[in-house]
């Protein structure tokens, strides 16, 4: 926004959020103001051309059509066409999608209903085959990236090696993945292998809190 663009008005202390944001929240970009300010000059030519068009149509309707009507023989009866409604289809419409297109994967494995304040969440779904489905969610701050992935395969999922930890009432493990990052893994009852990959700066308890806040569907 720039000077002259209004901020929302009529607010009070009741509209304050419960806590401060953890990152700067930019103001939404406003639509440009309509150009109907006092003293603004409008180009008249479109109106002139439009008015001329209306006059021309009026001329045709007023002069040419009545002359054609006079040419009709008197005493004839005009009638409406017999069929004005197309006949109902006898078969149900078929799927317009070509049969060779793969249907999009729509079943969510999990959602993040309460992401940490200031983080944006980006979901991604992949289905490489009918028995291999993966959903990921990446929580991003300016400096922190946390990746949550849920994997469903035909084979029974196996937990990787690591230190045991209790997550969402299930047995899980914590193990280092790459330098400066580690992963928290556990298996949900629907044989879904969950993994949260995060920087080491985030304590394990925070990751467990994040895992507890997930909604597995």
């Amino acid at each position: 926004m720039t000077r002259g663009q209004k901020i929302p008005t009529g607010r009070s202390w009741r509209d304050l959020p419960p806590g401060p944001p953890s990152r700067f929240v930019p103001a939404p970009v406003a639509e440009p103001a309509p150009t109907t300010a006092v003293g603004h000059k409008t180009n008249p030519w479109p109106f002139v051309v439009g008015a001329a068009g209306i006059v021309a149509v009026g001329f045709l309707v007023g002069l040419v059509l009545p002359r054609d009507a006079d040419a009709e023989p008197t005493g004839t009866t005009l009638s409406l066409p017999d069929v004005i409604v197309p006949p109902a289809p006898t078969t149900l419409p078929t799927n317009p999608l070509p049969p060779d297109l793969e249907e999009p994967f729509v079943d969510e494995l999990f959602t993040v209903p309460n992401p940490p304040a200031g983080f944006t969440v980006e979901f991604n779904y992949t289905q490489s085959s009918s028995d291999h489905v993966e959903q990921t969610a990446v929580l991003t701050d300016q400096t922190i990236h946390v990746k949550i992935s849920a994997l469903v395969t035909a084979a029974d999922p196996e937990l990787p090696a690591g230190d045991p930890v209790q997550v969402r009432g299930q047995s899980g493990v914590v193990d280092a993945t790459t330098e400066g990052r580690y992963a928290l893994s556990w298996v949900e009852p629907g044989k879904i292998l969950f993994t949260i990959d995060a920087p080491e700066a985030i304590p394990v308890e925070e990751l467990v809190r994040l895992a507890e806040s997930l909604e597995v569907t």
């Binding site: 901020i7 990152r23 103001a27």
Partner: protein
């Protein structure tokens, strides 16, 4: 129990005693207690009939100490507040008669009904806690707290408070209507007869609470957040709040930064903690800042209010206080 937990327990008992008379209004009571513990003056603003005067007189009763009430009227004179010199014919000399302002708790009721010359009489005592009459200076008793009420909707017979005096109030607290359940309880109490609050503390206990509040730790990140908020009111462009450019004529003064930290400390103590969090400062920021900003002509012309500006600042200005802490 630690010193801070003891203090929180004491404050909790005082709050319960207040609730024997005042129904609900948790937000207002929080702010009044914070103002008392932070050793600052408090201005309650709300439509008539919400219990502002009752709350403040009950607080004075619960806290003990001397109490005086000044009903501000258009014909009030400065000497009616601070005191005056009186000629004693029997002694053939002038004596100083101190005014009602020299009490521990001063209730300035309907403060905006007195003109500016009377308000000016309050400036010295509110800022420097002393009164000068003729050539003599009298210190205000400790603790000293001015609790004022004003009605924001009337325009007849009222005078807006001068900016210098508004700035001397630590907080300006809006008082809201009670909820349906609270109002039902108010009516039930009215039928049963009025309750009376007992004195729980005394001036010494209040001073002890104020001393404990000063010992609450303020981390660097919290200090930076408070400073950042005040700076954002003065230089919104530098804070990235481009939408506020040209809307604030005068931002908050350094007194606001001091007030944010003092109120943050007091709220942390009310909550039983020995360290201020960003949330504490955030919770008091609206009440500390809302009477310290002066809008530009552009803002007034566009119908933008102080509340719109503060909601914009507080909901967008960031606080870095840990990863999931703010969530």
């Amino acid at each position: 129990m630690t010193e801070f937990e003891d203090a929180a327990e004491l404050i909790s008992q005082a709050r319960e005693e207040l609730h024997r008379v005042v129904v609900g209004q948790e937000r207002m009571l929080d702010r009044i207690l914070v103002s008392l513990i932070a050793d600052g003056h408090c201005l309650l603003e709300g439509v008539p009939g919400l219990g502002k005067t009752l709350t403040l007189s009950t607080l004075a009763k619960v806290m003990g100490g001397s109490f005086s009430r000044i009903q501000f009227t258009p014909d009030l004179l400065p000497s009616d507040i601070v005191g005056t010199r009186l000629y004693r014919p029997s002694a053939e000399r002038f004596d100083v008669e101190p005014g009602p302002i020299l009490a521990n708790f001063v209730l300035a009721d309907e403060i905006n009904r007195a003109p500016a010359k009377v308000q000016s009489a309050m400036l010295e005592v509110m800022a420097e806690r002393q009164v000068t009459i003729s050539d003599r200076t009298f210190p205000a008793p400790q603790p000293f707290l001015v609790m004022a009420t004003q009605n924001p909707i009337e325009s007849e017979g009222v005078y807006p408070l001068p900016e210098a005096q508004r700035d001397r109030f630590l907080m300006r607290v809006p008082v809201d209507y009670p909820t349906l359940d609270e109002e039902r309880k108010i009516i039930e109490r009215m039928d049963l007869g009025s309750n009376a609050a007992e004195t729980l503390l005394g001036p010494q206990a209040v001073l002890e609470l104020q001393r404990s509040a000063r010992a609450v730790v303020v981390p660097e990140s919290v200090r930076e957040y408070a400073l950042g908020l005040v700076q954002a009111t003065r230089h919104p462009l530098e804070a990235g709040l481009t939408q506020l450019d040209g809307l604030i004529a005068f931002g908050a003064s350094p007194r606001a930064s001091i007030a944010l930290i003092r109120c943050g400390r007091a709220l942390a103590l009310v909550r039983g903690r020995d360290t201020v969090s960003v949330q504490d400062v955030y919770d008091v920021a609206y009440d500390v800042l809302n009477h310290r900003l002066i809008l530009s002509f552009d803002a007034v012309a566009d119908g933008v209010g102080i509340d719109d500006i503060l909601v914009e600042i507080l909901s967008r200005f960031p606080a870095r206080d840990g990863w999931l802490a703010a969530g």
